[in-house]
């Protein structure tokens, strides 16, 4: 019996628009200057955002539920779009200096964004896998794109480890399918209840393999080791992208898989809490020892993975909301920090922490902005990072993971120390000559930074602006098909 494929274009619209941008960059790259492409792509991102707004509350789906444009997808998608737009804006100013000012840069970036959106909109494991691979493959290229030894090294490391990680993930998919006979999230969730004991075993195995695969993508210890090397080796604008958009997408995938499909599957949560604990300890402790600011941000990304993953341990209603809130804030503050590094660094190695001394007296605006971002990363109110952390703690705490939230609180103290040092150094008067890049017009970067800082501040004072959207428990109940 032949079925008409369940094809609806509307739910795909946000993805298609971005894809169009990618294709346009690929094709027009021969004719147009990169700057023009970037602006086209920015427009595409905005259009994609508009289409998402249009899809809000429609609950549309396509391909028999393989593609879900539900509210969760839209919220995560908007976060992704914001991060992507910030990357593009920064690249406007810095790509040339970073020697990545090719049309390919834009093209790969937009392909990656397509992949990330696909993850956010995924309704089954295969869609998710396709998105993940598109994102990863583009990411490998982006990391290597700069013609330099560190970039190539980071690219190869990323690629080899990433490929292994993907393999593990796919193997996990196979097992989950083997246990439930379904690849669809809702189908899996529906079937987890009445499984035979041996199938439960297979399911747990699959879930754990999936966890390992995702742990690689989001950089949970001990799968995190690529992160510092890749982030510090890649051009700063690429690091920005990898540490924000890619991580958001990976978490989106985790949210869909673990918060939705495997919500009631046994086993993975107890393993996850061990991974989180290790991540919190190692990520924060290792950050304390960094002398390079960019690399410190890389480690801080690992540490934040720990906090973000806490939300997965919460009930979907609390945890999903917390994660979505935290992801946006995380994107804003991390992107702004990297943007400042990109603007002020002399080489793609980034800046040494000691070089920040006295920055306030040379670039007051950037210094204050960076201080705000760091304070927010450290979780100090009135900046939004505090609410992110608070929500993460609350999600874990209320679901019974008290010891883990205590550990997270203590880890935050260590985190404060390494964020505080650069932040305060900037304000200490200094008479030695400046060690950062002084020249250049940077309106786009400044705009990005301003966007991040204003976002972080406003969302810190009025968290409801974003949390009000994400807090509806109905959104997160729908993840499991209910």
């Amino acid at each position: 019996m032949l079925q008409v494929p369940d094809v609806h274009l509307a739910p795909m619209l946000p993805i298609l628009i971005v894809l169009a941008g990618a294709l346009a960059s690929t094709v027009l790259g021969f004719h147009l200057p990169r700057r023009a492409l970037t602006i086209i792509n920015l427009v595409m991102l905005v259009l994609s955002g508009v289409s998402m707004a249009y899809l809000w509350n429609s609950g549309a789906a396509a391909f028999g539920g393989s593609l879900q444009a539900d509210n969760a997808a839209i919220l995560l998608g908007i976060t992704i779009l914001i991060g992507s737009a910030m990357t593009l804006l920064v690249s406007l100013d810095t790509a040339y200096r970073a020697r990545v000012s090719f049309p390919e840069f834009d093209a790969m970036l937009m392909y990656a964004v397509t992949g990330t959106l696909l993850i956010a909109f995924s309704g089954d494991l295969i869609t998710m896998l396709i998105g993940l691979e598109i994102m990863s493959l583009s990411g490998y290229v982006l990391a290597t794109l700069q013609d330099s030894r560190p970039a190539e090294e980071s690219g190869l490391k990323y690629f080899l480890l990433g490929a292994a990680g993907s393999a593990i993930l796919i193997y996990g998919i196979a097992f989950v399918y083997g246990a439930t006979g379904s690849l669809n999230y809702a189908g899996i969730a529906a079937k987890t209840a009445g499984l035979t004991p041996e199938n439960v075993g297979i399911l747990v195995g699959g879930a754990l393999l999936l966890l390992a695969g995702f742990a690689f993508k989001v950089a949970l210890v001990p799968f995190h080791q690529w992160t510092p090397d890749v982030y510090s080796g890649a051009p700063t604008s690429v690091s920005l992208f990898l540490s924000t958009v890619v991580k958001v997408a990976a978490f989106a995938g985790m949210l869909r898989v673990f918060g939705g499909a495997l919500q009631n599957a046994p086993g993975w949560a107890s393993v996850l809490q061990i991974l989180i604990a290790a991540t919190l300890i190692i990520g924060n402790a290792a950050s304390l020892f960094q002398t390079n600011f960019k690399r410190m941000l890389a480690y801080s990304a690992v540490a934040h993975t720990g906090f973000l993953a806490l939300t997965l341990l919460g009930t979907p209603a609390l945890g999903g909301a917390a994660m979505t809130y935290y992801l946006l804030i995380y994107t804003l503050m991390t992107a702004a920090s990297f943007a400042i590094v990109a603007a002020l660094q002399r080489s793609e190695k980034g800046m040494e922490i000691g070089d920040l001394r006295g920055l306030y007296y040379r670039h007051p605006g950037y210094a204050v902005a960076l201080a705000v971002c760091l304070a927010s990363l450290a979780g100090l109110p009135p900046f939004a990072g505090f609410f992110g952390k608070y929500l993460a703690f609350q999600a874990a705490f209320q679901n019974g993971y008290v010891w883990l939230s205590v550990l997270a609180a203590l880890a935050s103290v260590a985190a404060l120390v390494y964020y505080l040092r650069p932040a305060m150094l900037m304000f200490m008067p200094d008479r030695t000559p400046a060690r950062e890049y002084q020249h250049g017009e940077r309106p786009a970067t400044t705009f990005t930074v301003a966007l991040g800082v204003v976002g972080v501040t406003v969302l810190g004072i009025l968290p409801n602006l974003w949390y009000g959207w994400v807090a509806n428990p109905g959104i997160w109940g729908a993840l499991a098909g209910r």
Partner: protein
């Protein structure tokens, strides 16, 4: 009006950034004075009742503020001392724009702490006030400030993050719909969980009191801060642990505070004596005053932990007014440093040439070591009296620190201001211009409230009675 009072300093702080340099002093002074004036108006109007709107409805976080009783007293003192700090900073520090701006920003944080009637809002203000304090230290501190800074921030955050968990727990276990204090009290946590949550809450307050052994940040913080003593004034005001315990700790954790009373009182009494004793050895004025302040905080804690009405009233009285004279002492040290270029306590003979500076410092010291007739006495005496009713021996131990206090205060004073001036040392100028006000106004306050305590007592007493009545009688 209450909102205006809380946020006016912050507005002023932002406004300063846009003000031409030559007008900054005046603008800052005007804003600080206006805030104080607003506070007085609120006081004349009988305080501000709880104002409540939802802030983050999805999380049950409300924006609830009130200024009454203890909080109004502390808010007024904060506004007053901020004004004094601005007054002195404007005179002492060249190009003081940043400092003034930070002082005002911090004032908002502090006023917010006192006004908040929502646990999460309290936390937000509690942490927000940290940032200007850190910046003051970073921008204006001395060479070893990074260490002091990290220590200060790490201790503070260590405590406050545990408090944050405890805040989450209080709402989760109690089942309250919001974080508003009134709702939380309606839905109390029962049993052993309450004790654990109290310990979490206590961690933050013990750091901020501070209480031994979580006090190590305090001496370094003051030692490394700017010589003028302006940041120290704000730092002193920031020691809000006693207030937090009183306003939130006691009502939310009544059983636990009852249960832990002897241990906590012991810790407090020990802190008082320990700090006073160590102060005796200090040769740096700032460290000395820091330890003296620590000793006072031991008294405050003793009063609050005792759950005795008289002692708690005394603790709040002491908490409020020690800000005045300890802060003024820091400024006096700033003046001393400006004149002799050192904050060492072995300068010698300053009073032979600067009589007024010496005299004012001495009078402030007397207030600090609780000589009757000055504000410190009312608080300290009530605390000891009340604590004695509960735990005589602990009151005795804390009482010993009054002897040690005389020893450290007078020794340092003597070796700095009395005795001979070294031959060939620079001539010391006496107080000038606004310096008279900077020391004189706090001293006047200290004298007034030492003699006539009724205005403050009328505010504090009903509030304390209300809280303690909530504990089911003492």
């Amino acid at each position: 009006m209450i909102h205006l009072m809380i946020f006016l300093p912050l507005l002023g702080s932002l406004l300063l950034l846009a003000t031409p340099k030559r007008w900054r002093d005046e603008v800052a002074g005007f804003v600080a004075a206006l805030t104080l004036g607003l506070g007085l108006l609120i006081w004349r109007g009988g305080g501000a009742e709880v104002f409540r709107v939802d802030w983050i409805p999805a999380l049950g976080v409300t924006y609830s503020v009130a200024l009454d009783g203890v909080s109004l007293t502390l808010a007024l003192v904060t506004a007053f001392m901020s004004f004094i700090a601005v007054l002195y900073a404007a005179r002492r520090i060249s190009n003081p724009g940043t400092m003034l701006s930070l002082v005002l920003a911090m004032e908002t944080g502090l006023l917010g702490i006192f006004a908040a009637r929502d646990l999460l809002l309290f936390y937000v203000f509690f942490e927000t006030a940290l940032l200007p304090a850190l910046l003051m230290l970073a921008i204006y501190g001395k060479p070893n400030r990074m260490r002091a800074l990290v220590k200060f921030a790490a201790y503070t955050l260590f405590g406050s993050l545990l408090m944050l968990l405890s805040i989450i727990g209080v709402k989760a276990y109690g089942g309250s719909p919001t974080f508003a204090l009134a709702d939380l009290i309606q839905n109390p946590v029962k049993g052993a969980a309450q004790t654990w949550l109290y310990l979490g809450f206590l961690a933050a307050m013990a750091v901020k009191l501070p209480l031994w052994p979580l006090h190590a940040w305090l001496p370094d913080f003051h030692e490394q801060n700017h010589d003028s003593g302006v940041p120290d004034v704000m730092g002193t005001l920031y020691k809000v642990g006693g207030y937090g315990l009183f306003q939130f700790g006691l009502p939310l954790f009544p059983d636990a505070s009852e249960q832990l009373r002897p241990i906590l009182m012991g810790l407090a009494a020990f802190t008082a004596l320990y700090a006073a004793w160590i102060a005796f050895r200090q040769t740096d004025w700032k460290r000395l005053i820091a330890y003296a302040g620590l000793s006072h905080m031991g008294f405050v804690a003793l009063g609050v932990f005792s759950l005795n009405e008289t002692a708690t009233i005394g603790a709040m009285y002491l908490l409020a007014f020690q800000n005045v004279y300890t802060g003024a002492l820091f400024l006096a040290v700033g003046m001393l440093q400006e004149r002799v270029g050192s904050v060492h306590t072995r300068v010698g003979g300053v009073m032979t040439q600067a009589g007024a500076l010496g005299g004012m410092t001495l009078a402030l010291w007397f207030a600090s070591i609780a000589v009757p007739g000055l504000a410190g006495f009312v608080g300290e005496f009530s605390v000891l009296l009340g604590a004695y009713q509960v735990q005589p021996w602990l009151a005795f131990i804390a009482g010993l620190s009054t002897i040690a206090a005389a020893a450290y205060a007078l020794t340092a004073f003597q070796t700095t201001f009395w005795q001979g001036r070294p031959l060939g040392a620079v001539r010391v100028a006496d107080l000038r211009h606004t310096e008279w006000l900077v020391l004189g106004l706090p001293l006047a306050v200290a004298v007034f409230f030492g003699v006539y305590s009724a205005p403050a007592l009328n505010l504090i007493q009903p509030a304390v009675r209300g809280v303690l009545a909530g504990l089911g009688g003492q």
